[in-house]
Symmetry: C2
Subunit: 619 residues, 2 copies
């Protein structure tokens, strides 16, 4: 009987994100299986939103993504030419929906390219996907669910040999299992949860390839409303292009009462013929087609996300929606990025209340999925809608579309995703701030991802993104925003008091023999200047208790040395966070980058109490 | 008999840069040999200057360098404490010597780490170093030197087997050979060239390791002048540290008339004991030593760099100097970065005058080496000098040292390196500008590396470093700085005329069947706005003659869309280059990034004539 910590069913974006994150955190007993005999190499989900790029960066994977993907920075809106003869460009505008993001634009890269980044990262730690493998049976021993170290899940796996005939079965015991097995999830059906919501009769075709075209804006995201239907033109890596094309649903039996559109009635030629009609007067041909498919828009979310907080579902197994807002892979990877560190804390025995902790996964991500569906319904109908005209006075006007496009930007970018901090304390991980606390860090929201800004490393003057000082490694961060401890005795005194309380928490929650920044990592950002050797003023506790690596824990909010003077960087972190330089603040950030709490530098006890609520004490 | 295009003797920084560049340009018949049985894994040259980072970026190698190296951004100057008791910090200041550089700071990474980047890059194209191999004999057939395609060099190579006994010999014929075989170069001796200059009796020890220390500025470049001698503290990757320590030369017989200091008289303990004395009152111990050595400062340059422009030397084979200005690996890699594209043009049969073309290598790089020696003499004596005090009124004052440190910055950073554009036309690759031409691009210098600035890609709104639009691939760039071709009919007309002449040059010098940007690549930077679809206004010639990849050749000088508003980027390229928006300019850039000529947008004939001087015509 093989024993693992986590069994992951399905190697798509959700499964890969989870497997990679767990192995990155040092959880070595992970088994990830997939029913396909190799990984996807073309097409499928491909839009990477700004927050997802930041998440990749946290795991050290963004550089390759940024090098291989196409940047999508501009949008061009096309509508019927009032003079007839087809479409024309109404407006070109930034496709920038998240000005606060570190990378404020979308990226496009085929799903195989995205997955290859995970595959190589996992391989460097010895983790590989077991392909051609499915779950045949699963059992959950309810008597064991209270013990996080128990192997409560039993699964029978079946692996098909390369010739397709031979089958091998294996019994596996897992502490936790996660179904990342897509819209038709076996794990979801095993749990008995339903998909709630509707199937529409709106049908779209999607096609990837290298085109020959005179369409002027083929390097912009171009939503096209024409008299012959709608399409979205999406630029892709390596000068390829994706087209989303609305098809005539009547051909597949749409519009009939109670009927369902039959996808099998449509062929590649239907997509190509529609594209030709919609894009007139421009021409497009596809000498090379990489991938194509037909889909009917459905907007549904699973009734629950877990069974006893031991078996979970994530990604398409939880929610389906239209792909046109570029949300598919992003929401799936967001699910397991949220779940991974909670499993990590549980498996490492760091938490006192694993069921409560793991319960926040559904609390946070199911609410997000419902918001996403609501957003998608509204946005999809605008994309699919007929253009406004004399014959269609109820149609979609250019102004209405641009308004929606902009309004939904913050949400669809992922930057605006905010988990609710219930005043009732329902979510143990998020503490709603008082009015006074919120005023200490005006631009920071509990439940949202923490902003970033360029700060200067005190020890060597190196400019760094604040996000890069907090790589995703499973630890919480306490950011102390301090005044000028060199010039202001009061500021120094406040930091000394806070550091004494906080280092008490660090010591209490760190298992013996582990690095002092492995569970709670204290970073200080000060208004002092690097020129003053101010590192020497700070209490040793803020520098890993005197460990020589501790110099990397202290930053200054000042402009970067030198650099091209025309592009001054640094010196705006306090301002960007909305923190007064003479007041300071403490901000706690979860391992997934979301803000837990905001409080005053004079109230370090609030931070101590926060961690005491769910982290185990070792002293 | 094996035939190769280029035989490279020696796999150090110079040899690796050359081998990698040639294979990157598509020269597949390269043989690189080294006498050692494996590559260096610790110590040795390790400082990477700002221009070298830019060069790595040109070959697509900077990301890994930036990820693995230590950033050195700050300097701390130490001098004797006037109150006695040892040294104290006099000043902390930016170690930023090249504010115009894309990365304005130094990097440190051990030589094995630098070389590994080349090794992996070369391996991806099937090129590996042949280790344990030396040249035993070499012959140059003078009757063949006029024919660039002839294998004029014959060499006998000897490879030693792994047991050290077996030897295998091989005869190799090469079109060109380059000795990158260090200060004791076999190739240089074979050519019969002398090293000219002096050996000093100043002796230094250098030591790499992971220290335990209370020295406060161990993450800054810290030159220390003490009553017990001088040292330089250099932070390194992975929290390690390098110390350069001046040793007592009398121990090795220095100071005797005509005597030479004997390095063998010194041991690791001498370095450690000196460090202890110099750094008082601070303490330092080295629980781990990675590497150490002793060297005597010599400042010499070879009398010539080639034999008949068929056999060359580069790197330490050409010049030796003290390592304290962090120039070693940089000047060596700079040599072969300069030579590589000239060999490439010759080997691809693109040049009409290969001897003149290859002759510019010595013309440019020997002059640079001489300047470097002059610089090094002055700087070394300041670093080695006794501190100013009552007993040493002739000593080095803090003010004098800081002044020299700053003055030499631009040169030592590599950004300030400027090859001379002789009015006599002695250097066919550089055209001295007239006063009027210089006024068109006030901040651009012929012979210096072209500046960079952020520009916006017209087709998709993506912000890019101008340097990144000109990756090092062997082609020349013609930068057309155009006015607003959408709003200004005159600006459009000027671009139309220029594009017609320039595209004539492109067609003439591009061999049949090759991409139209493979020899001369035209890029346009305009003051027009991306929102206007101005791409459509430009003549097709400026977009690769209508090839769909041509959209990547056109840029706008405007602020980037969105982005964190606190750090506006883009929109300052004309200003940074000193080009008037209503006037424009044409700038030609060589494949190594150095500026060839500056002229008016109304004088494209000057560009045509420039290329006509050394590039072959194919039509």
């Amino acid at each position: 009987m093989t024993q693992v910590d986590v069994l992951i069913v399905g190697a798509g974006p959700a499964g890969y994100m989870l497997a990679n994150a767990l192995s990155h955190f040092g959880i070595s007993k992970v088994l990830i299986i997939d029913k396909r005999d190799k990984r996807v190499s073309a097409g499928q989900a491909d839009g990477i939103q700004p927050r997802t790029i930041e998440i990749f960066q946290g795991y050290g994977l963004a550089q390759r993504l940024l090098a291989e993907a196409n940047y999508m920075c501009m949008a061009a809106m096309y509508n019927p030419d009032p003079n007839g003869g087809g479409i024309r460009c109404t407006e070109r505008l930034p496709d920038i929906t998240a000005p606060d993001a570190r990378w404020p634009h979308e990226l496009t890269l085929h799903q195989g390219g995205i997955e290859a980044i995970f595959v190589d990262s996992m391989r460097s730690r010895g983790l590989e996907v077991r392909f051609s493998t499915t779950v045949a049976e699963m059992e959950l021993d309810q008597s064991l669910v209270g013990d996080p170290s128990a192997h409560a899940v039993k699964a029978k796996l079946v692996t098909t040999g390369t010739d397709g005939d031979q089958q091998e079965t294996q019994m596996v015991q897992a502490k936790f299992a996660v179904g990342c097995d897509g819209a038709h999830s076996w794990v979801r059906r095993w749990m008995g949860h339903e998909m709630e919501g509707e199937q529409t009769d709106i049908i779209w075709g999607v096609m990837d390839g290298k085109p020959q075209t005179d369409f002027p804006d083929w390097r912009c995201k171009s939503p096209v409303h024409s008299e012959h239907g709608s399409c979205v033109v999406l630029p892709r890596e390596n000068n390829s292009l994706r087209l989303y094309i609305q098809l005539d649903s009547s051909k597949g039996g749409g519009g009939e009462p109670g009927g369902r559109v039959d996808r099998s009635k449509y062929r590649l030629e239907d997509i190509q013929e529609s594209a030709k009609q919609i894009l007139r007067p421009y021409h497009i041909t596809y000498p090379e087609i990489d991938w194509w498919t037909i889909y009917v828009i459905g907007q549904r979310v699973a009734s629950a996300y877990s069974k006893s907080s031991r078996v979970f579902i994530a990604g398409d197994a939880c929610h389906t929606h239209s792909p046109k807002a570029g949300q598919g892979a992003n929401s799936s990877m967001g699910d397991t990025h949220n779940l991974a560190w909670k499993l990590f804390l549980t498996l490492k025995g760091l938490s006192t209340c694993h069921e409560t902790l793991l319960g926040t996964y559904e609390l946070e991500r199911r609410k997000f999925a419902q918001d996403l569906i609501d957003f998608d319904k509204e946005f999809s109908s605008l994309v699919s809608g007929k253009p406004l005209s004399e014959t269609h006075p109820e149609g979609v006007s250019h102004e209405k579309f641009v308004e929606a496009f902009t309004k939904f930007g913050s949400f669809s970018s992922g930057i605006g995703i905010r988990y609710e901090a219930y005043a009732s304390g329902e979510n143990v991980l998020l503490v709603p701030p008082t009015v006074e606390e919120q005023s200490l860090a005006k631009h920071v929201c509990v439940g949202q991802r923490v902003p970033t800004s360029i700060v200067i490393k005190a020890g060597d003057g190196r400019p760094m993104e604040l996000h890069d000082t907090m790589p995703t490694n499973g630890s919480f961060r306490v950011l102390i925003w301090a005044g000028d401890v060199v010039e202001e005795p009061k500021a120094l005194e406040a930091v000394k008091v806070a550091s004494s309380v906080l280092s008490g928490s660090v010591k209490a929650h760190t298992p013996k023999g582990q690095a002092m920044d492995s569970v709670i990592d204290i970073l200080t950002i000060s208004t002092s200047k690097t020129e003053t050797q101010f590192l020497q003023y700070l209490p040793l506790e803020l520098r890993l208790g005197g460990d020589m690596r501790g110099w990397e824990k202290v930053y200054c909010d000042q402009p970067a040395y030198g650099g091209r003077t025309r592009e001054q960087i640094g010196g705006k972190a306090f301002e960007h966070f909305g923190i007064a330089k003479d007041q300071g603040a403490i901000i706690v950030v979860r391992p997934d980058g979301h803000v837990s709490l905001i409080t005053s530098i004079a109230s370090p006890e609030k931070v101590r109490d926060y961690f005491g609520r769910f982290l185990k004490r070792f002293t």
